[in-house]
């Protein structure tokens, strides 16, 4: 199962858990799996079937340009981090 690192400002939604192991072959599956355990997480991360514009998803350290479509391996690390704005990207 992939390890998902919960952003500090969202751990109130996951009973204080900072890391969660959930099944899923892509980021969409991962988010759905977390949302089953902790309803409401999906709404904080996803809008119109896309990762919200103020959030980036990183799989195994790489910011993913594919968002919820990014593939996730069983031993992957998944992070949801603030998108870097301005001229950064």
């Amino acid at each position: 199962m992939a390890t998902v690192f919960i952003p500090s400002l969202m751990i109130d939604m996951t009973s204080g858990k900072q890391r969660i192991e959930v099944p899923g072959s892509n980021v969409r599956d991962i988010i759905n799996s977390i949302d089953k355990l902790y309803p409401g997480v999906k709404g904080r991360l996803v809008e119109n079937h896309k990762i919200k514009p103020n959030i980036s998803v990183a799989v195994d350290g790489e910011i993913s340009p594919l968002g919820i479509l990014e593939k996730v391996a069983p031993n992957s690390e998944v992070h949801f981090i603030p998108a870097v704005g301005g001229g950064a990207n």
């Binding site: 340009p65 998108a83 950064a88 990207n89």
Partner: protein, 736 residues
């Protein structure tokens, strides 16, 4: 790792220094910038801006202008699409409230800009003035007025990163240093002001809005103008003109929607060119900030805990850069226990925008001066202390992900061994040396490249990335490397949004990375097609044909050989033209690390500060065109020096008016103020890029302020806590 600016690593084109393709036009004045652009029937637009920092708009009366000779149209927020009203529309022209001095209110088009300027004076706006706030700490004060009255406070964004246990980390620390810093709002200071010419063709069959603009992202201008004006993106064509600097500030559409509305009303093209005052007061500077940094370490020099609280000015609308500042705050170090809180705070200033490594310089001046202070308390060499704690590949960053390939250690080692670091200082007590390092994560994004073959064998390269730092040359060089031809045999062009696939903006040090990947794909495919064509002509298998140095040849039959130039002549008769495309949205952009050694002189009688000697070290991955890499390193360094010593938005606090909105009073460093900026290119290749590229445009600005502050401490014994480090403030501290 390789070091030096001439390493080609077996490449024939990459690492060399050909003359840039656009160089001749630039130095002879033939290059067309936005202000040069003209078109039949052109009208000139001007924008009325708020004289107040914060006020309700009670009424706007344009009646005195409507019949004025030479005035062709007036627009206000009422001319923008009224449904789905957004903050972005409010930023283009204020509807009910102005949020900063310079906030656009109305636009006028006239037969010349003098009449347009006179017309602005006749528009009567009634205001109810409201109390204003200018700094992030003011904005955080619960008693401060709300910029957005629908919110509970002025915080538009809060980011928090946490690693380990910060409390335990400090408890175990032998040395703890905690300091607070204030940095002023600064401007990117590009030479060419924002400009836009817009021609709205309203014919029913072929409605098209043509925009000629100075921008870092023609596709962003298209997309955002389309959103604001409720148009389909395909109805807008954006042509990027040559650009006279941007540094992150030229992404917003600013005058484009206003010029578009004026053009729609008049049926004529309308050009708007900002004045320098408008640039300072009404475009996006980079934020002033309040930075609190606390770092604890063992007596052996291992950092155990680091905490940052960052409050950045957002300007009048959300969209600030504290997220990047938080990410970068401790990214060069391997620290087990970290806590970072970052806040973007709404204030009555123009909305901030990016500026080389947006947000990183602010946090880095705090981190790198506290690091220096701890090294001093531990009686350790400041570079050695940094090496003990240096981050490396696989180390987890405070925001979560682990670092990919990263060159912190390589940069620090190069600094430590460098003659500049080891040469003795002058005997004079008013000169000393400071060091600092910095980080920028770099970005990527979608990119498209089209290639075709000219009849003379040169390769036509079409791209969508605005060329702001020599990217036409660097992309051409990567294409040439794949094809085994000279860089000058690739002819690059940056084209409008109708002529190339989507290409994200020239920012985040992304272009050489992403367009390099796209160019590599396109060139590889083109080479394959050329080989197949030669094989077809010779009646042999493509597997037996190769291409090197611009020659296609059979690996089995020495008599079968043809130059690309000769093959190109016959393409139409042997199967037709050959073209190739590369389109990608790659991941894998790896960070760049900067390091500065700066010798500083302080006149203890006046507080005047001079830079005596400066060397920048930067991990660039692979320098495609070393001249342009060095140019980025030098340019960022100079801007960092300006940020450290001279530059600030200086406000008259009674009227909340910027007192220095000209280059005469907003003092940027000139060539006469500075020594040669020496460069040391460090090459730690990025394994995710076919040529090892890392973006190079940003890290260089992040470390000069701290290096200068650290040098000043060694001269004066004063730990600087404010940017810019003004002589007056330094003298006050010296006298104390």
């Amino acid at each position: 790792m390789t070091k030096g600016s001439n390493s080609t690593n077996g490449y024939k084109v990459i690492g060399t220094r050909p003359i840039r393709h656009d160089g001749y036009d630039k130095v002879t004045g033939k290059a067309l910038y936005g202000a040069d652009f003209s078109i039949s029937g052109l009208l000139f637009g001007k924008i009325l801006r708020s004289p107040h920092a914060h006020a309700k708009i009670l009424s706007i009366d344009t009646s005195a202008v409507e019949n004025m000779d030479g005035v062709k149209a007036i627009v206000t927020s009422q001319d923008l699409p009224q449904t789905n009203w957004t903050k972005e529309k409010d930023a283009i022209m204020a509807k009910t409230k102005v949020l900063y001095k310079g906030h656009p209110i109305a636009g006028v088009a006239a037969i010349n800009h003098h009449i347009a300027e006179e017309a602005l004076k006749l528009i009567n706006v009634e205001y109810e003035i409201l109390p204003a706030i200018l700094t992030a700490p003011e904005g955080l004060d619960p008693s401060s007025p709300l910029i957005d009255e629908t919110k509970k406070n002025n915080i538009s964004n809060h980011v928090k990163h946490e690693l380990g246990n910060i409390k335990k980390g400090f408890e175990k620390s032998d040395v703890i240093v905690e300091r607070t810093f204030d940095t002023a709002t600064v401007h990117q200071g590009y030479i060419e002001p924002h400009n836009a010419t817009v021609d709205w063709n309203s014919s029913v069959q072929d409605e098209k809005v043509n925009i000629w603009v100075s921008t870092q992202s023609s596709f962003d201008i298209r997309g955002r103008t389309a959103e604001i004006l409720h148009l389909d993106p395909s109805k807008i064509k954006t042509t990027p003109m040559e650009i006279g600097g941007g540094f992150g500030a030229k992404f917003d559409p600013y005058a484009c929607p206003v010029a578009a509305l004026l053009s729609k009303k008049t049926g004529k093209p309308v050009k708007i060119v900002h004045t320098r005052k408008e640039e300072f007061e009404s475009t996006g500077p980079t934020p002033g900030s309040n930075i609190k940094i606390k770092i604890g370490a063992t007596k052996e020099g291992k950092i155990l805990a680091a905490e940052a609280t960052l409050a950045y000015e957002d300007g009048a609308f959300p969209g600030g850069v504290v997220s990047a500042g938080a990410l970068c705050a401790f990214a060069t170090y391997d620290i087990e226990n970290v806590l970072i809180n970052g806040y973007d705070v709404l204030v009555n200033k123009p909305s901030t925008s990016a500026y080389r490594a947006p947000g990183a310089t602010n946090s880095n001046v705090g981190t790198e001066t506290v690091i220096d202070e701890i090294a001093e308390k531990l009686e350790m060499d400041p570079i050695e202390f940094r090496l003990i704690n240096a981050s490396k590949e696989g180390v987890r960053r405070a925001d979560g992900p682990k670092h990919p390939s990263i060159g912190v250690i390589e940069v620090l080692n190069a600094m430590k061994k460098h003659p500049h670091y080891n040469e003795p200082l002058p005997e004079a007590t008013d000169i000393n040396r400071g060091v600092a390092i910095g980080f920028w994560m770099n970005g990527a994004g979608p990119s498209s490249i089209n290639l075709s073959v000219h009849p003379d064998g040169r390769i036509n390269l079409i791209e969508g990335s605005t060329d702001i730092g020599g990217s036409r040359a660097s992309i051409a060089m990567m294409v040439a490397e794949v094809l085994g031809i000279k860089a000058e045999d690739v002819t690059p062009s940056v084209v409008d949004t109708d002529k190339i696939g989507y290409t994200s903006g020239t920012g985040g040090s992304s272009v050489t990375y992403k367009a390099g990947v796209a160019g590599h794909i396109a060139a590889t495919n083109l080479k394959k097609s050329l080989i197949e064509r030669a094989a077809s002509i010779w009646g042999v298998s493509p597997k037996t044909v190769s291409m090197e140095n611009g020659i296609l040849f059979s690996t089995k039959d020495k008599s079968l050989s043809i130059s690309l130039k000769n093959l190109a002549k016959d393409l139409n008769d042997t199967g037709g033209p050959i073209i190739s495309n590369g389109a990608t949205n790659p991941s894998g952009a790896a960070p760049s690390i900067s390091g500065h050694i700066i010798d500083v002189k302080v006149d203890k009688e006046t507080g005047k500060i001079d830079i005596v000697k400066c060397t920048i070290f930067q991990d660039v991955g692979k320098a495609i065109h070393p001249d342009y890499v060095e140019g980025q390193m030098q340019g960022g360094t100079v801007q960092g020096i300006g940020w450290a010593l001279n530059e600030e938005y200086f406000y008259n606090n009674d009227s909340y008016e910027m007192a220095n909105p000209t280059f005469l009073d907003y003092r940027m460093p000139l060539a006469l103020d500075l020594p040669m900026i020496n460069t040391e290119i460090i090459e730690v290749p990025n394994p995710a890029h076919p040529f090892g590229v890392r973006g190079v445009g940003e890290a260089s600005i992040t470390s000069p302020p701290a290096a200068i502050a650290n040098a000043i401490y060694r001269i004066t014994g004063i730990r600087v806590n404010q940017l810019p480090i003004k002589p007056s403030l330094l003298m006050e501290s010296i006298k104390k």
